[in-house]
Structure formats: structure tokens, C-alpha cells
């Protein structure tokens, strides 16, 4: 038996609700995007229902501590097709067990969730580290990114607290939405970019006159801080994987 849901978090939680209502035995969960009909297996389309989703989420809040609720959310943000099924099975497992079952690292779904959450948190941390703002001509600090996972919801608060006195935009060029901080709140925005700005070429076009100065100084600094006698390219690439180089001011040719 396969349950099909719309790919949203409420959809996933509704699926859990539907399962407990029907108790159909072993079920796997797939999102509508990745679902392929199978000849010998039935399927059931879950209709997302926010009331049902809320009840499941409340139930989870009663069962899991904050750190695990976060792991759950992070694993969802990974957008990995298999992660949806693990989340589904994990939720059923947690509801059917005594409190504390999430610490059973011998369980395949527990360990899978922990793993997905770790990857997403790592990507979140990398965004906090590797984002480089460019000061644009209209005074906004802008950056375009294309993270492996959908981490913008996770980094919003970090940047809001840190850059409280400057307007900034972080735009996810892959998922085509961004965050804009207007000195008071962070809002979700979408931008129709002019030709030429995409996830291969994330740079802004019109820059503040001082931007060049500071980007050059930063490149200089990056070169000066290196100790040539200790060169270790392998380690360098392990810490800063090549796919992030396009964001990094210090990695651009001057």
C-alpha cells in the first residue's frame, strides 16, 4: 500500500492521521512528484487537512522534546524523497511506543532522521558561514544562493538578529523565493530577475561604490592570512567544497 501526499508538511502529518484512522498495516509514503503507479500495489491519495495535521503535530509535541521536533522539521526540509517515508514511519513508531523512543538509535527510522537532520543543519551552518552580502546601489545587502536543502526558514532568525541595522535580501535562486529584512521584520519575497542572474551567476548587478573596495580588501586579506609553507589543498577543499566557491568573494578572480 502506498500513500501519496502533496509534499507539504501538513500533508505529511495528515497522512499519519489517515493511517491511524485506517490502520492498513505496512504503508510507504511518497510525494506526488516522485510517485510511480505500481501494478500490484494499491495507492491512496491523502488530502491535506490542516485540522488533522495540527492534531498530529500537537501529538508529536507531547511525545518529543524540542531538539527532536527540530530534527523532524529539518529532515522534512531536506526534500529528499526517502526522507518523507522515514518521517512517516518515525511518527507512527513514536506514537506507538512509550515516551523516549526517539533515543533508540538502533531503529532504522530514528537513525535516518538523525542523519537527514544533521545534513540539513550542516547546510544551514554553511549558509551562515558562506553567504557574502554585496552592498547594492540602493543600499540593500544582497546575496543569491542555491543551497542543497531548503534552509532559508532555518537561517532567517540568525541573520535578523545579527544584521538588525541593515536591510538585507537572501534569495534562493534554485527554489525561487527569498527573505527580505526591512529593518523590522523578515518577509518572504519573489523577484523577477533580469536576464543573467541565476544560480550559476548569483552576483548582483548594480553595486554600491564602496563595494569594490571592501571586496578587494577582503581578497587581499584572504591571501595574506595563508601560510604558504603549510599549503594543504585537500583540507582546504574539504572545508570549503567547490560548489560553494561561486558565493565566496575571496574565491572570485579579481
Amino acid at each position: 500500500m502506498t500513500y501519496i501526499f502533496d509534499g507539504s508538511l501538513p500533508g505529511l502529518l495528515t497522512a499519519v492521521f489517515e493511517w491511524f484512522e485506517r490502520k492498513p498495516g505496512t504503508v510507504s509514503l511518497k510525494s506526488i512528484e516522485t510517485f510511480q503507479p505500481e501494478a500490484f500495489s494499491e495507492s491512496f491519495t491523502v488530502v491535506t487537512n490542516s485540522d488533522k495535521a495540527d492534531r498530529v503535530w500537537k501529538g508529536l509535541q507531547g511525545k518529543l522534546k524540542k531538539d527532536w521536533l527540530r530534527k523532524f522539521y529539518c529532515a522534512y526540509l531536506s526534500e529528499i524523497p526517502e526522507a518523507f517515508d522515514h518521517l512517516f514511519q518515525f511518527t507512527i513508531y513514536v506514537f506507538q511506543s512509550e515516551k523516549g523512543a526517539e533515543n533508540n538509535y538502533g531503529n532504522a527510522h530514528v537513525i535516518a532522521l538523525a542523519k537527514y537532520a544533521k545534513s540539513v543543519e550542516r547546510e544551514k551552518h554553511r549558509m551562515e558561514a558562506f553567504i557574502r552580502f554585496q552592498h547594492t546601489a540602493d543600499g540593500i545587502f544582497y546575496t543569491g544562493v542555491d543551497p542543497d536543502f531548503n534552509v532559508l526558514p532555518l537561517i532567517s532568525n540568525h541573520f535578523k538578529n545579527r544584521y538588525a541595522d541593515q536591510q538585507w535580501i537572501i534569495y534562493d535562486l534554485k527554489r525561487k523565493y527569498g527573505l527580505h529584512y526591512n529593518l523590522f521584520t523578515v518577509e518572504e519575497i519573489t523577484i523577477d530577475f533580469a536576464v543573467g542572474v541565476n544560480n550559476k551567476n548569483p552576483e548582483a548587478i548594480l553595486l554600491n561604490e564602496k563595494e569594490e573596495l571592501y571586496s578587494v580588501l577582503w581578497k587581499d586579506y584572504f591571501k595574506s592570512a595563508n601560510i604558504v609553507a603549510r599549503k594543504n589543498t585537500k583540507l582546504h577543499i574539504r572545508h570549503v567544497p567547490k560548489r560553494y566557491w561561486k558565493y565566496l568573494t575571496e574565491k572570485q578572480l579579481s
Binding site: N104, H125, F141, R162, L217, Y221, S224, H236
Partner: protein, 419 residues
């Protein structure tokens, strides 16, 4: 400011500061509660890594590289023929603010050569911190060098604005320091370290009684030792480090492999490879002391004054102490699990949690993250294969070496090139 001049200054003063290896930006507790710029991140953030693989978290610069001292191991020593430069206070403030705004850095690491005298230098450093905190509403990280010999009042005031303060021991032993920097002594370092430590304790005690106590060096103190410039053993180095961790509650001791910068006959000659592997082993030992519950005497003692080069100190300890193994994963206490080679802190915690739900098997251990090929010689679990004979420590070492590839082998200093 003129563009080219500021570029030149930054190049000179960043280049001179890079031998200070402290990079951490962790432990800060400053919150952005004045709608200013910056908010600390408790575990710190490495914003980039240089091509030698070291993290860049802070804008690490000297205020000036003019110096009245002539310490042999230092590029900025008086007798060295290098270009000299000095930043103005405003230049440092502006650079820090603008780098921070672009998310290049986590904060400022400010050190300086000693010009005129200690107090004059310390005053300038303090001025930078005050401008950043009070005028610019900057809440990012500041790591400040305490200048040995500066007056207590200045050091105490600086502690109110800095997140971390540090003074470098430079050489692991007094004798080594006297050899290369006759004008300095460990006592110069110990006095201000102790003074700052007393104040940290005092502020913490006040905080229990009074609600609003200003922050004082919230991220604590650290120090650094240069490795391989003088002939100390690993035991000397780690015993010194251990004493400083104990006596001054240091957050970190850094070990910096000496990069030859001078032709003096008392030092390794120019062109010698920096002792990277040794540095790595010292850091491993440091971690074992701080996070794995090892006493330094267990790892290094008169019988073993130096760390093994071919295997890490944890494995080396296990092989010398085979009487403790094999450890039963499903019964042993956390402290003992932590001592098994191939099991780290995270895996050990997961094992202790998971075994409440049933006896753990090999496949589960692998999924938890245990380096099983290494750990298997030291553990038993639910489905461990029955073993007829006990292996000696030396045999186990041979097994592990046979299947591991060291990234250091190509620079192994024991390897002689014949032709």
C-alpha cells in the same frame, strides 16, 4: 583613506598576524539587544578557510608591527628587515564594521607589536574596542591580546569590551623562552593571565548576588605555544598545557608548528617543513584531556615522553593498556566506552541511549557512526564473532596500520630518501 595605502597596510599587518593560530569565535554571549550590528553565535562560525586549511573566522590583524622587542621566533622582531606599518584606530574600526556587514567575518582579532611601551600599546587596543562597542553599537566578537606589562586598570577595562583575551606563552618551557627571547619570561605571561582570571571569577561571583553585572571576557582566555623551535619533548609541552588549563581555567591552548622565518643558528633552518604531524598529535592529546576524560599522565609519562607518530594517542594508549579490553558495548559505563579507539563522543552518547532498547549489534554500531574496523579489536557486542585467541597490542597495531592509509606518509620525516 587612500585605497592603495590601506591595501598595503592590510597586507603587511595581516601577514604579520597570521602566525597567531587562535581562530575560534566561540563562547561569546553578546546579544544584539540595541538594534546594532552583530550577534554572537555560541559555537562560533568559520567563514572561510585559507589554502593551508586553517579556518578564517576573525579579521586577524596587528595594530602595528613596529616592536621594541627582538624575539627570535617572531617576524615582527626589531632586528628583522620587514616593511613596517600601523593602522589608525578608525581604520581598524571601519574595516571591522564593513567586513562584518558583508558576513565575511565573525569579529575582530586584534594584536599588536609593542611600540613605545606596554601601556601606550594597550591604550590603543582598548580605544578600538570602545569605539566599536560604544560608538558603532557593534556586538560581534572581539578577541584581544593582553599586552604583558600593561597596567591592571587598562587590562580590566579592556575585559569589559572584549569577548576573549589571550597572551602567548610562546615557548613551552622557561628555558626555551630564555634561549630565544632573553627579554621575556613566563612570569610576564602568568601575571596578567592570573589577573584576568581573578576578575572573571569575581564578576561571576557578583552575578550571583547582583542582577546587572557587565560581561567580563565572557569567552575566557587562551594561550599559544610554538612547537618545534626548541627541543622540548611532547611531555614537556602537554604538562605545561595541562598546568595552564588547570591553574588559569583556560578555554584553549593552541600549538603552533614553527614555520622557519629566521637564519639564526639556535632555530631550525629556513626551508624546514613545519612539524604538522606533531602538531596534529598534540591537538589530539589536548582533545583527549578535555573531552575524553584522559589524564595527561596516562598518555605521556617518563616511559613515553613523546607521542607515537604512526598512530594516534588514543589508539596508542589502548595498545599499551590491553588489560582494559575488550569492552562490552552493552554493559560498560560511558567513560570506558569513550576510551575505545574508533568511538567518539557522539557515538558513545548514542550507544548509551540506544542500548536501553535492546542489545546492540555490529550493523547498528556501524550505522551509529562507530569506526568499526578500528573498534572491533577492542569491543564485544551482541553478535561479535567468537575469537579463539587473544592478540597482543603490537599485533593489533600491525592490523590497523596495514589497512589504514596515512595522509602524512608522503611527508614522513622518518623516511630517508636515498638517492
Amino acid at each position: 583613506m587612500s585605497f592603495d595605502r590601506i591595501r598595503e597596510k592590510l597586507n603587511i599587518l595581516a601577514d604579520a598576524a597570521k602566525y597567531d593560530v587562535s581562530c575560534s569565535s566561540s563562547g561569546g554571549t553578546r546579544k544584539n539587544d540595541n538594534k546594532g550590528l552583530g550577534d554572537s553565535h555560541s559555537s562560533g562560525i568559520c567563514h572561510t578557510y585559507t589554502e593551508d586549511g586553517r579556518c578564517v573566522s576573525l579579521l586577524k590583524i596587528l595594530l602595528t608591527n613596529h616592536c621594541i622587542y627582538d624575539c627570535l621566533f617572531c617576524v615582527s622582531r626589531k632586528s628583522n628587515d620587514v616593511k613596517r606599518a600601523a593602522f589608525t584606530v578608525d581604520e581598524v574600526v571601519e574595516l571591522t564594521m564593513n567586513f562584518y556587514r558583508r558576513n565575511y567575518i565573525e569579529g575582530l582579532f586584534l594584536s599588536s607589536g609593542i611600540f613605545k611601551n606596554a601601556d601606550f600599546t594597550m591604550e590603543r587596543l582598548l580605544l578600538v574596542c570602545k569605539k566599536l562597542r560604544l560608538e558603532q553599537k557593534y556586538n560581534g566578537y572581539i578577541h584581544l591580546k593582553t599586552i604583558p606589562g600593561a597596567s591592571d586598570e587598562l587590562i580590566k577595562e579592556a575585559g569589559l569590551y572584549a569577548d576573549r583575551m589571550s597572551i602567548n606563552l610562546e615557548m613551552p618551557t622557561e628555558a626555551g623562552l630564555k634561549l630565544l627571547a632573553p627579554e621575556k619570561s613566563h612570569q610576564d605571561v602568568i601575571k596578567p593571565l592570573a589577573f584576568v582570571q581573578q576578575n572573571i571569577t569575581q564578576f561571576a561571583a557578583d552575578k550571583k548576588l547582583i542582577k546587572h553585572v557587565p560581561k567580563f571576557v565572557p569567552a575566557g582566555q587562551s594561550t599559544q605555544m610554538v612547537i618545534g623551535a626548541t627541543p622540548e619533548s611532547d611531555k614537556d609541552i602537554m604538562y605545561t598545557a595541562n598546568a595552564f588549563y588547570k591553574n588559569f581555567s583556560l578555554k584553549r591552548v593552541y600549538y603552533s608548528g614553527y614555520v622557519p622565518i629566521s637564519n639564526d643558528s639556535r632555530m631550525p633552518v629556513l626551508g624546514t617543513q613545519p612539524p604538522l604531524l606533531r602538531e596534529n598529535r598534540l591537538y589530539q592529546t589536548d582533545w583527549l584531556m578535555r573531552f575524553y576524560g584522559f589524564k595527561v599522565q596516562e598518555i605521556l609519562n617518563d616511559a613515553n615522553p613523546n607521542l607515537d607518530v604512526d598512530i594516534d594517542p588514543k589508539l596508542s594508549w589502548a595498545i599499551r593498556n590491553m588489560q582494559h579490553f575488550p569492552v562490552d558495548i552493552n554493559k560498560a559505563d560511558y567513560k570506558m566506552i569513550l576510551r575505545i579507539p574508533g568511538i567518539g563522543v557522539m557515538s558513545a552518547q548514542k550507544i548509551v541511549q540506544a542500548r536501553k532498547f535492546g542489545k546492540l549489534r555490529i550493523d547498528q554500531l556501524k550505522k551509529i557512526g562507530v569506526a568499526y574496523n578500528r573498534a572491533k579489536h577492542f569491543i564485544t557486542c551482541a553478535d561479535s564473532p567468537y575469537q579463539l585467541r587473544d592478540y597482543q597490542g603490537t599485533q593489533i597495531k600491525a592490523f590497523i596500520l596495514a589497512e589504514s592509509q596515512s595522509k602524512y606518509l608522503k611527508t614522513d620525516s622518518n623516511q630517508l630518501i636515498l638517492f
